[in-house]
């Protein structure tokens, strides 16, 4: 398959189950909501090193938020259920509670499994906190120097998908970056999905384990490293001199598929030779996103 002269390799991205939450941050202005969200999603690129993967899902107009102020929705994912509430408490406590004018709401009201995040954070109020039940939902009012921080008592937990990906194989680093930026722009405001890496782009794709260091769980993806073309079993076609990867986490398979479709299409630009994906032979991750199926629009492309 080719799109505008770019080869779409007949392969699939292999993804894993994760546990996720959607946090809605509102503030007096969109800038302050974004400031808080950027702090919350800082250093959250990969569970390998950051314990959580997080990103801004999209901006929210005032009529989309619970309190009628501008807001930002953030998705956070962990590999297991037990650590998700801990990460939420840490991140909301350090980056939303602390940020001027913000309030914090659950963005997954339909999920039955609830995490008592606001309930844990309330003790910052040192006994001066109080709660209100509004339309059946409990909110904690935590007194702070600026006034009050309002946080919802509990947050929904969703079974999400992490590690959706595609690789952009380009003739030059400039062409790879231009195509990757286009892909990020196409995905940025799509619902239900985040790109947790810096600017949404990864240059240091990894393979599982190490050929040399036994204690490492991930090392450089030498098969796609152009400087190692002559030294390793390369997967790089002739003429490819740079590869960038887009990694996606989402609340479900459909969100990942839709985002991959939009991103791959946008990445098919001059100077790009091929789009491929990372997988482990289908043996590790239960979610397989077949690139050609996705681009044909066949049943979401997942399996």
């Amino acid at each position: 398959m080719e799109i505008r002269g770019v080869t779409i390799v007949d392969t699939f991205a292999e993804a894993f189950g994760m546990r996720g939450a959607r946090v809605v941050i509102t503030a007096h202005t969109l800038e302050w909501a974004r400031t808080s969200a950027l702090s919350m999603t800082g250093f959250s690129t990969s569970v390998i090193g950051c314990k959580v993967e997080a990103g801004i899902e999209r901006t929210l107009a005032p009529d989309e938020t619970p309190d009628g102020r501008p807001g930002v929705s953030v998705l956070l994912f962990t590999m297991d259920s037990a650590s998700l509430p801990t990460r939420l408490i840490e991140r909301i406590g350090q980056t939303v509670l602390t940020c001027p004018t913000t309030a914090c709401f659950d963005g997954l009201p339909g999920e039955t499994e609830r995490l008592p995040v606001g309930r844990a954070l309330r003790v910052f109020g040192d006994g001066f906190q109080s709660s209100k039940v509004i339309a059946g939902l409990r909110y904690w009012r935590i007194p702070v120097m600026e006034g009050e921080f309002l946080v919802q008592e509990d947050f929904g937990k969703v079974k999400g998908v992490g590690g959706g990906n595609f690789l952009i194989l380009a003739e030059s680093a400039e062409a790879a970056l231009r195509a990757a930026e286009g892909a990020v722009d196409a995905v940025r405001e799509l619902p239900g999905v985040i790109l947790p890496f810096p600017g949404g782009i990864v240059r240091s794709g990894s393979k599982v384990g190490s050929k040399r260091y036994k204690n490492l769980i991930a090392t450089t993806n030498d098969a796609y490293a152009p400087t190692l073309r002559a030294l390793t079993a390369t997967d790089l076609p002739d003429g490819v001199n740079a590869v960038l990867e887009i990694v996606l986490d989402g609340v479900d398979e459909a969100s990942i598929s839709a985002a991959m479709r939009a991103g791959i299409d946008a990445a098919c630009q001059p100077g790009v030779r091929a789009i491929t994906a990372g997988n482990y032979g289908g043996k590790l991750g239960p979610y397989h996103f077949h690139l050609q199926k996705i681009m044909r629009g066949d049943a979401g492309g997942g399996s």
Binding site: G68, R69, S130, V133, I134, A135, Y139, G147, E148, L150
Partner: protein, 272 residues
Amino acid sequence: MSDIVTLTLRAPLERTVEAEAITPDRFQALGEREIAELPVWEGARQLRLGELFDVRGDRAARVRVVGDCSRIDALGAGMSTGELVIEGRAGRYAGTRMTGGTVHVAGDAGDGAGLEMAGGVLRIDGDAGDRVGGARLGASKGMLGGEIVVRGAVGAEAGSRMRRGLIVCARAGARAGEAMIAGSIIALGDVGEDPGRYNKRGSIVVLGAVSVPAGYAYDCTYEPPHVALTLRMLRARFGVAVENGGERGRYRRYSGDMSELGRGELLVREGA
């Protein structure tokens, strides 16, 4: 089985009748004839519901009452589910002790509306009498949960000794929130004298004029986030619109009653 049970008052009442039997909970399990046989009380005299009302429909959790019911007490008392619509005035104790479902009074309601209610929604399109959402005389707790939305004014002692829940009204009479334990009262307009006396942890929000009682101490002027959230919810769910500046605004916060815990609050909209 019908979609709705309709009770139409046969003639205006000369004496007060207590009609706790009129709840969707009961009606959804009964046929038309059984509903008509339910007891109502005129003082110590027992009457059949069918003597006062023409009954149409059966086994439905939606009930419509047509006619001037200003002499009928305890409509929807203790109901836990379903919908009761009173297409006119209601007597005393409408929705008292209800735990769920919706009562909608299209006109005025008498004293004790929502007295000691624990859940559900009570909507009153007109005015309501004294002790809305409050406690029975001598009882330790008033409202324990749910929402009461009164489009008009409420009388004295609204929310007295309430423990949880929300009362919203256009204006409130004297001694609103007396001995409140917790919960919220929101008056979109003025509030009468001595609000929140002996208030422990309750919130009284006033968007109109109010005289701050001696037991309250000024804290600050700020934008309380929970008020905007509540007002926005009221507009979305009940069509309650806030005039004069909308849902967001600055409030003077007073803590009180200092003769109690002092953990209650009186929030007075700035510029009111």
